[in-house]
């Protein structure tokens, strides 16, 4: 190497190296200037490009110098030779199927040799994980269909509204997942209502998944590892809800070293720490998030001045590896919300100057995992959830606040055994028992002398289940998952159950008498088998066809006749009159991966039929109502759809696009009277029936320091009810409605953008900061949330938009490793 200097590119920006280099450069420059013989010289550049995994020389690479394509004087065995005037340049080396290499180089010696190893993107870890459970080619080889794992890394790549990474908004980028709009208190999955989704956070159920009435989800992104969405084949270990399971897992704390991360956004501050307590044995994770700036609303336009909105969530997880065969995990979750807005109506029949909502969730789970041997293990968990919503009603000319408290206490014990019998059978079986205690509503007058205390009797019930599942590999191509679950529900006293006149509407006027049940006495009992079957046929190594059938039973439901349930909406158990919801889902899908697993394609179709879906009588009022059956109607539901998805999982540009055609319809025909039918007893579109849905998300990573994210969302507008005309009654014009959900609001579409600058100083330190600038709704589309009629001097129609403009945000995130 006479006269030449080999530059190791990994060192070129080493600060130490740079300092020396700069010092020499300055010295040489000074020498040249002082001698007056400064002139520009050319250097010979030799770049060797290899595959990082096997060092094979790569031909036909594209080398760009300062964004212009270099002209090689020769190209042999992956060595590309050309000349450059001395100076500093940006070099970009790219090759199809490989990650692009970018560096700045300083050319000053006559010959510069570079050796660059490009990473084959088919061999790198997936950047986007939306379909990758079960190893390479997960979507094709996974046994169940309608299952989507979503890593938190992927969710964080999706541009976030106001800078808050949001699990539920991430979910809505997947096919089959929609909501009623931006202020939806939950998601609708394959035509199911929000309460038909079982949302689990480290095994503990979440009854209210959003903060501030749908604006942000309650799952702290920094403490979340990821989630599995089961919308088709639901394993037999899950039960209790008929539509889907969203299984969110919290991060396991690092057993090796202290780590911290956090961030500041316009909405909230976050901090997460992981601290080993006994190295390699025990560690604790603590994560908190709190919003702090609702006083800004006072500065806003009149419509916003009354808004108060604050929330917090706190997570802890303790992981203890007792020995090689036993681990113990404790997860704790605490969240709280307080908000006041005129947009949510009020409680009838209590005089108040405003309505405030305060709700809290306290969840805890303790999990013991014991491995008998490499084939057999048992996992036993004790779970507690305590959800306490409260409505606060400040009185006129008084410092007193009347409040209505309600709540759900959920206690569960479960144990499951997993046994890998041989190569052909993997068995899993278990038992579970849940005790529900629901406080439907307790009115506390405080010091008020015009309001009486009211207490609606508690509802109690036990849901027990037993399940067995066998994953059978029939041959190399064909495999089967056979699952059977049996669930039983017992409604427990104390309770008063009314007896109504036969064949008459269930209302206060048709009561014959009532039966009283003592505490602990069973007054209603339901149960049945829940078969879950799925068959997979591997057509080739990269493509498969699957069919599945699932039956699910649901004994607990939210009682709400509003567009989306309020956080304070009442939950109720099945009883003598409210029958459990039973849903059957048939689905089929074709899955194909590109040979290098960079691209995945899937096509899934489903049909669901649900018995005993809940709807409500016109004018139904659930507050202070002990006999909820007088307000409800039950009927049938059907939902069907076709979901198409293509994702690119690796490389600098990753993302996915999907299109869904789906329908969700209900039929309510309980009796012949006007109040016992909806739309004359015919099928009608549900509030969340959105036939066409298209989502696209793209993430562009530029050399690890810059990352750009784009998402585009399109949904058919959801149905709303247009009157048949108007009538004049008592000198007031009223809309005259006959059919529900007979028109649609305008289509929803939105484009979001985010730009993340990681580690702006480009130096390797333990503290690494990043800035994310985002714009939600970049082209300021005024998407309608609802259309309604309001009686003012005349009757006027209005459209309510939640985010009517582009919303920029700036977030600072940090990691300390």
């Amino acid at each position: 190497m006479d006269g030449s200097k080999s530059i190791n590119l990994s060192n070129i920006f080493n600060p130490k190296y740079c300092m020396n280099l700069k010092f020499i450069l300055v010295l040489i420059s000074l020498l040249f200037i002082s001698s007056g013989i400064f002139a520009q010289k050319s250097s010979l550049i030799q770049i060797t490009v290899k595959d990082s995994s096997d060092n094979t020389p790569l031909k036909d690479v594209v080398i760009k110098i300062d964004y212009k394509r270099a002209n090689f004087s020769s190209t042999e065995n992956g060595i590309h030779t050309f000349y450059l005037p001395q100076g500093e340049y940006g070099v970009t080396i790219s090759h199809l199927g490989y990650e692009t290499f970018r560096k700045r180089i300083n050319v000053k010696s006559p010959t510069v040799e570079l050796t660059v190893s490009l990473v084959n993107i088919s061999k790198e870890l997936d950047e986007v994980i939306v379909n990758n459970q079960g190893g390479n080619g997960g979507n094709v080889s996974r046994q169940l269909l309608g299952v989507t794992p979503l890593s938190i890394k992927t969710i964080k790549k999706i541009p976030a509204m106001m800078g808050e990474t949001d699990v539920l908004r991430g979910l809505q980028m997947l096919p089959g997942v929609t909501s009623v709009g931006e202020a939806a208190n939950g998601v609708n999955i394959r035509g199911g209502t929000t309460d038909q989704n079982l949302i689990l956070l480290d095994d503990t159920p979440i009854f209210n998944p959003t903060h501030l009435f749908g604006l942000f989800s309650v799952f702290p992104a920094d403490a979340t590892a990821g989630l599995d969405l089961y919308k088709g084949g639901i394993p037999s270990r899950f039960g209790g809800r008929v539509s889907s399971v969203i299984d969110i897992s919290l991060l396991n704390p690092s057993l090796e070293k202290f780590k911290a991360s956090g961030g500041i956004s316009l909405v909230a501050n976050r901090l997460t720490i992981e601290q080993p307590i006994i190295k390699d044995k025990m560690a604790v994770l603590l994560s908190g998030r709190a919003s702090y700036n609702d006083f800004f609303f006072k500065l806003g336009p009149p419509k916003l001045q009354n808004i108060r909105a604050n929330f917090y969530d706190l997570v802890t997880k303790v992981f203890y590896r007792m020995n090689a065969k036993n681990t113990l995990t404790f997860s704790g979750y605490l969240s709280g919300d307080f908000f006041q807005t005129d947009l949510l109506g009020t409680v009838s029949n209590v005089n108040a100057t405003s309505t405030q909502y305060a709700y809290s969730t306290k969840n805890a789970s303790l999990k013991w995992f014991h491995s008998f041997n490499s084939k057999l293990n048992i996992q036993t968990s004790a779970i507690l959830t305590d959800y306490q919503p409260k409505t606060l009603l400040p009185e006129l000319n008084s410092s007193n606040t009347v409040n209505i408290e309600s709540g759900i206490v959920y206690k569960q014990l479960k144990s499951s055994l997993s046994y890998a019998l041989n190569d052909k059978h993997h068995l899993e079986g278990g038992v579970s028992s849940i005790l529900y205690t629901i406080n439907p509503g307790r009115l506390n007058p405080g010091t008020s002398n015009s309001v009486n205390p009211i207490s609606i009797p508690e509802e109690r019930g036990i849901e027990s289940s037993i399940f067995l599942e066998d994953e059978i590999t029939l041959n190399k191509r064909l495999s089967l998952s056979l699952g059977l679950r049996y669930s039983n529900y017992m409604a427990l006293g104390a309770a008063t159950v009314r007896n109504y006149k036969p064949s008459q509407p269930l209302n206060d006027f048709n009561v014959i008498d009532s039966t009283k049940y003592k505490s602990g006495e069973v007054f209603a009992n339901y149960g049945g088998f829940e078969p879950r079957v799925s068959l997979k046929y591997l057509i080739t190594d990269n493509s498969s066809f699957k069919v599945g059938y699932s039956l699910m039973r649901q004994y607990l439901q939210v009682v709400s006749n509003t567009t989306t349930p309020l956080p304070t909406s009442r939950w109720t158990m099945s009883n003598n009159y409210i029958k459990p919801q039973v849903s059957q889902l048939v689905s089929a899908g074709y899955f194909k991966n590109s040979p290098n697993n960079i691209y995945e394609f899937s096509l899934e179709g489903y049909y669901r039929s649900t018995e005993n879906v809940l709807d409500f009588k016109p004018g139904a009022d659930f507050v202070f109502q002990p006999f909820i059956e007088t307000q409800t109607l039950q009927g049938k539901g059907k939902a069907y759809g076709l979901e198409l998805m293509v994702s690119k999982k690796k490389g600098e540009i990753t993302g996915w696009i999907n299109y869904t055609y789906s329908r969700a319809l209900n039929q309510i025909n309980v009796g012949e009277s006007f109040g016992e039918q909806i739309n004359g007893g015919n099928w009608y579109a549900t509030n969340f029936d959105r036939p066409h849905s298209f989502n696209a998300t793209v993430s562009i990573s530029q050399g690890g320091h810059h990352e750009f994210g784009f998402t585009f969302v399109y949904n058919t507008g959801r149905p709303f009810t247009v009157p048949e005309g108007y009538v004049q009654y008592n000198d007031v014009k009223y809309p005259y409605y006959l059919e529900r959900n007979n028109q649609r609001i305008s289509d929803y579409h939105r484009l979001d953008f985010s730009w993340t600058i990681r580690n702006p100083t480009m130096t390797k330190k333990r503290w690494e900061g990043s800035w994310t600038f985002g714009i939600y709704n970049i082209y300021a589309r005024q998407n309608a949330y609802s259309v309604y009629l309001k009686s003012e001097k005349t009757l006027n129609a209005y459209q309510l938009t939640i985010f009517g403009s582009a919303i920029p945000s700036l977030t600072y995130n940090f990691k300390f490793m």
């Binding site: 916003l304 029949n349 002398n449 009538v727 005259y736 009629l789 309001k790 459209q799 309510l800 919303i807």
Partner: protein, 376 residues
Amino acid sequence: MKIINYLFCLLFALGAISCIDPYSLDFSQKNNVLVVEGFLTDDSAKPDTIKIQYSNFENQTTRIVPISSVKASVLNVDTNEETKLIEQPKGGFLPPKNFKINAQNKYILKFSLPNGQNYESSSEKIINTPPIAKVYDTFNAQSVLSEDGKKYTSANEVYLDTQDPADSKNYYLWRYTHFERLGYCTTCTKSQYSVQTNSCSIALPNFNRTPYFDYECAGDCFSIFKSKQVNVLSDVASNGQLIKGKLIAKIPTYSPVGCLIQIQQISISPEMYLYFKILEAQTQSNGGLADTPPAGIVGNIKNTTTPTEKIVGYFGVVSIQKYNHWIDRKDATSPYELILGHTLSLEPSTMDTSRPPLTPCTASSSRTPIKPDGWQ
């Protein structure tokens, strides 16, 4: 720099969140719906007019179509005694002068139309109404926020207290009539008032100033405003207690001088309460994030000839408690709402001292020359 960025973001976001815009409902339906208004009341001196008429909707406009030759009566279900109602102009009916409700008996409304269709209401019975204990008002400069969220209107908010009886389930309906003294009785658009014709008959073809003139009233004149909002309450949370601070009305600040509100408190049946709750949900308590689905406002009247017909309205048999309250507006401040809906524009004085003339106060559903009970 960071702070500036944050402020910028914040202001941007605040302006953006939650906007409400007028929406043009695109529908071309037309309908003709039978509407029944009014109650049979225990106020024999001033009974409610029961109206049986069609509400017609066509070309985006609603109009009342009175039906003539309707035969209507109330039937005492317990005594089987049928009392014919006396037809009034424009589809109205009144009970005979000597008619008195028996509070122990149930009544139904029966009527038949000239087209041969027969109708009947469900049976209804009086539920005693407790008296209004107290009425008071307070001025609020930011009482009503316009639906677009841009402007506040000031009003005197009127509240009442009433003692709920402990021994029964009670449901209340409140309605009110609000009177304002009116100084200007006639507005002539692009014309002047003629005393000879008693109308705006002096045409002004080249009128390029304010396109109207307001003329003073010749004597007392009072504007009548009726409650347009449904106001109901169940005593589920306050049985046997003093119901305190129930908001009855928001009276716009039309002037610095006082005005009168006549309040009626009515005990209604649970079915009637549910009917008015549905009415309320259609047009008043909606527009939020969690609206209830709209429902048909079909009441307790059935067509016995063609049972599928849906009739709007609820026939109730009720006892009424009244209370007149004077709003002195001593605490009210400007700006004032425009009672005529526009700023005053007077015909300029000329040499002709007979002009501008005073104009009469013609009695109608929205104004009266007779001083109302309770006027101060």
